[in-house]
């Protein structure tokens, strides 16, 4: 019979897991595939440290000033700031990558108590928690400098405040982990996150319009949040400063109640995980669906595109509709057109500095093309192992490129038409020559970029995963190529548009752009055969990079 080892104690297990986390962090650095990733990490580290230390001074000074000048009611704000940071920051970073899954530890023979303690330990080792604890310590130091008599109560309240925060954060984190384990929820979360970030752009116009009186409304709300941890801790410290023992005890009791409830709920969550709760995607129940037989024997409709090109374009459409982030990238430009027209158009808050329609139309067109064509420089990013299907199929690779390019060009055309309609509604008709010049410039810019974008996609592929944000970017060379091409094409477009103004001939730009578009299309078509050869030469690179 095989030997059976003795079980390690809880402390030994905690030590082992701490060591494991350290090794995962250290080994993670080994896999940084470029120097720039490492440089990025160092920068983030430096920035985070500077931010934490800088705010330590702010919290120190805040506590010191408020206690010294007897403005103790303001202490609530400091605790609220820490509470919000501690609870919200981990939620923001949760969707951005695949951190070590805490629940994976359950494969080892841990007791529920050890699992719970490990969970709390994880919570305390996050950046949000470490920085928050540093700020709480700074506040205690500030209090010690200003009013040493407050320190004992503050120490007790701070310990409770930390306990409440760490259990609440782990509770929220555990629920979030359960939600984000499902692909669809993860993508929805990402979409909501991006939308919330974009909506921040509208804060300024909204505040300009409806901002008056909002401060008083916020002040009216404050008394109703007095039972929340930030207020409880802040008010109790303020009570200690006024030697109000009753207030201090009330704060302690409130925080104890919070700690008790959140610890109990967290224990229940961990117990559910401990007993083998399945949180990842599981196959949907099998439901046999009867299909409409008629669709299987539909007539072959003749089209001007080959079935293979159509198949690729269709596949691109389906991928787009299932890629929340890419889909948002398409929804956003028209929204941004509305935003720009509010912010800089005639009738905006800027009024006298409003941008003229003569600049607005081509400017927005350039912006849209910049955004919409960026993915074309790494157009195989989401193929994954499916890239092998393209190489196994009995079609020259130019067919695949053509299908992808036609789909993108149609999409850009639709987006531009929509955005130009919005602009005409918001800004007014810019005149037929300028409108024609804008459209022709757009066609030239798209046709001119696709050939180079294909070269970039084949030469510098970078795998991306749908539903993730961390590390989801094109390769450095592809980014610089896109940047360079767009600057050159933008420069040519600007030159042609200004030439129309200088010569006083408003029809000159549309005519020049029509010629340039024809030349760019010719260049694109003749590039396809070269791209076909390049795809064959880069086949292994593409398969290896995307199937990884």
């Amino acid at each position: 019979m095989a030997d059976v080892a003795r079980m390690p104690g809880v402390l030994e297990q905690l030590k082992l897991v701490a060591e494991l986390r350290w090794r995962i962090l250290k080994n993670g650095l080994r896999h940084k595939n470029s120097r720039w990733d490492l440089v990025g990490m160092v920068w983030v580290g430096i920035f985070s440290a500077l931010m934490t230390v800088g705010l330590c001074f702010a919290f120190y000074l805040g506590a010191y000033e408020f206690l010294l000048k007897n403005r103790t009611a303001w202490l609530v704000l400091l605790y609220w700031a820490i509470f919000l940071w501690w609870q919200v920051f981990p939620i923001f970073v949760a969707g951005f990558g695949s951190n070590f899954e805490f629940a994976k530890l359950l494969r080892f023979p841990l007791s529920l108590q050890a699992f719970y303690l490990l969970g709390l330990g994880y919570g305390l080792s996050d950046f949000g928690a470490i920085s928050s604890i540093c700020w709480i310590l700074s506040m205690i130091a500030g209090a010690a400098s200003a009013r040493v008599d407050v320190v004992p109560a503050m120490l007790v309240l701070s310990v409770l405040f930390v306990l409440v925060n760490v259990t609440l954060e782990r509770l929220a984190g555990s629920w979030l982990e359960k939600l984000l384990a499902k692909r669809r929820t993860r993508e929805l979360f990402l979409g909501l996150f991006v939308l919330s970030m974009v909506s921040l752009n509208f804060l300024n116009p909204a505040l300009q319009k409806w901002g008056r009186g909002s401060t008083s409304r916020i002040l009216q709300i404050i008394p109703y949040v007095g039972w929340l941890p930030g207020s409880l801790a802040g008010n109790a410290v303020a009570a200690a400063a006024r030697a109000n023992q009753h207030g201090v005890l009330l704060g302690i009791a409130g925080l104890l109640a919070w700690a008790g409830v959140s610890s109990g709920l967290l224990w229940r969550r961990f117990a559910a995980q401990y007993s083998g709760e399945e949180i990842s995607d599981s196959p949907a129940p099998a439901v046999a669906k009867k299909r409409d037989k008629k669709q299987f024997f539909a007539e072959e409709r003749p089209g001007f595109l080959s079935p293979q090109v159509t198949a690729v374009a269709k596949k691109e459409f389906r991928y787009l509709t299932r890629n929340g982030f890419a889909f948002l990238a398409l929804v956003l430009p028209p929204i941004m057109v509305v935003f720009f027209s509010f912010q800089f158009g005639p009738g905006s808050a800027l009024k006298e500095h409003a941008v003229k329609p003569a600049l607005f139309f081509p400017g927005i067109m350039a912006y849209l093309i910049l955004i919409l064509l960026s993915p074309a420089y790494n157009s195989f990013a989401y193929e994954g192992k499916g890239i092998q299907t393209y190489f196994m199929a009995p079609v020259p690779f130019r067919v695949v490129l053509l299908g992808k390019n036609l789909f993108l060009a149609s999409l850009v055309a639709f987006e531009l038409a929509l955005s130009l309609s919005i602009l005409t509604w918001r800004i007014g008709w810019p005149g037929t020559p300028l409108f024609a010049a804008t459209v022709a410039a757009g066609m030239f810019a798209v046709a001119g970029q696709l050939a180079i974008a294909n070269w970039s996609s084949l030469s510098f592929p970078k795998k991306m995963e749908i539903g993730k944000m961390k590390g989801q970017r094109n390769s450095g060379v592809a980014v610089w190529t896109a940047f360079g091409v767009q600057i050159v094409l933008g420069g040519i477009c600007a030159l042609v548009l200004f030439a129309g103004q200088w010569t006083g001939n408003p029809w000159l730009p549309p005519m020049v752009f029509a010629g340039l578009t024809a030349a760019a299309l010719g260049g694109y078509v003749s590039s396809l055969e070269a791209m076909n050869r390049l795809a064959e030469a880069k086949k292994e690179l593409l398969i290896e990079t995307l199937s990884r």
């Binding site: 095989a2 030997d3 692909r183 995607d281 196959p283 949907a284 099998a286 439901v287 046999a288 669906k289 299909r291 669709q295 299987f296 024997f297 539909a298 007539e299 072959e300 079935p307 293979q308 159509t310 198949a311 690729v312 269709k314 596949k315 389906r318 991928y319 299932r322 890629n323 989401y382 193929e383 994954g384 192992k385 499916g386 890239i387 092998q388 299907t389 190489f391 196994m392 199929a393 009995p394 079609v395 020259p396 749908i466 064959e536 086949k539 292994e540 398969i543 199937s547």
Partner: protein
């Protein structure tokens, strides 16, 4: 004499200093059920990748159905079906969408694509999951879908890299029957598997690759004769494989070191 389906001459593939496949000469007759065996890292998948156009050879020639692959890649690809190592599926399509896509890419008309898609989904027991994303399929379901995609256009040669891995016993049984019938109809099946019992049961001919070199090739009887079968004892493919690859002794001595376990 029957047609040669696959023929390679000094087919070689190097990755830097490593020679993954070293000048192999394979000959597979049309309609053969051919097993291609070897230990992990022997060069099986690299060979299949070269034979299916996913990897360019460093040197050597390969002809499929009498056509030089490098000179006529599209014509060759039209006649071969592949289940590659990683299955090569588009994970963000549903099962039905993927089969339709493959059918159209191989030039089937819409009606034929639809009919065959429906029939294959039924056969592979995927009909009730046809609208589920491939990403949400289990490993076995993905394997069945990859197999369906490999046969939808009726290939003349089928390359299968570990086709039964992760497939349940019911589906595996149906697949073996299907493959057997395809072979009877003249389709050449080139299969790799680590499950030697399956290979022994299905394949009429076998080749063994070890450290990039082809160390044996022939019918089961020829292989048995090659390893010196004793009278009255019929060696299994596993015994033949171990005696050719020569690992059994080393395995035994390694096992003896694990006294705490054994």
């Amino acid at each position: 004499m029957s047609e040669i389906a696959i023929a390679t001459q000094k087919l070689t593939r190097q990755f830097g200093a490593l020679t993954a496949v070293d000048a192999i000469d394979l000959r597979v007759q049309a309609g053969q059920f051919f097993g291609f065996l070897g230990p992990n890292g022997a060069g099986k998948s690299t060979t299949i990748k070269m034979l299916t156009g996913l990897l360019a050879p460093t040197s050597g020639r390969m002809e499929l159905l009498g056509l030089d692959f490098q000179a006529h890649p599209v014509e060759v690809k039209r006649q071969i079906g592949v289940v590659p190592e990683g299955m090569g599926l588009f994970e963000r399509l549903t099962g039905i969408e993927y089969l339709r896509f493959v059918g159209r890419m191989y030039g089937l008309d819409r009606a034929t694509t639809e009919k065959r898609t429906e029939e294959l989904l039924e056969f592979m027991q995927l009909a009730d999951r046809e609208k589920t994303l491939v990403a949400d399929y289990s490993h076995g379901m993905q394997k069945k879908l990859a197999l369906a995609a490999a046969v939808i256009y009726g290939p003349r040669i089928l390359f299968l890299d570990e086709p039964f891995e992760g497939v349940d016993a019911l589906a595996a049984g149906a697949l073996k029957t299907l493959l057997g019938r395809m072979a009877e109809r003249g389709v050449t099946i080139f299969l790799t598997s680590h499950v030697l019992e399956i290979v022994e049961r299905l394949c009429s001919h076998v080749a063994i690759i070890h450290q990039g070199r082809l160390v044996a090739q022939g019918s089961m009887e020829e292989l048995r004769a090659g390893v010196g079968e004793s009278e009255g004892e019929k060696k299994t493919l596993e015994q033949i494989f171990l005696s050719i690859v020569g690992q059994s002794g080393a395995e035994q001595s390694r096992l003896e070191e694990l006294t705490w376990l054994t």
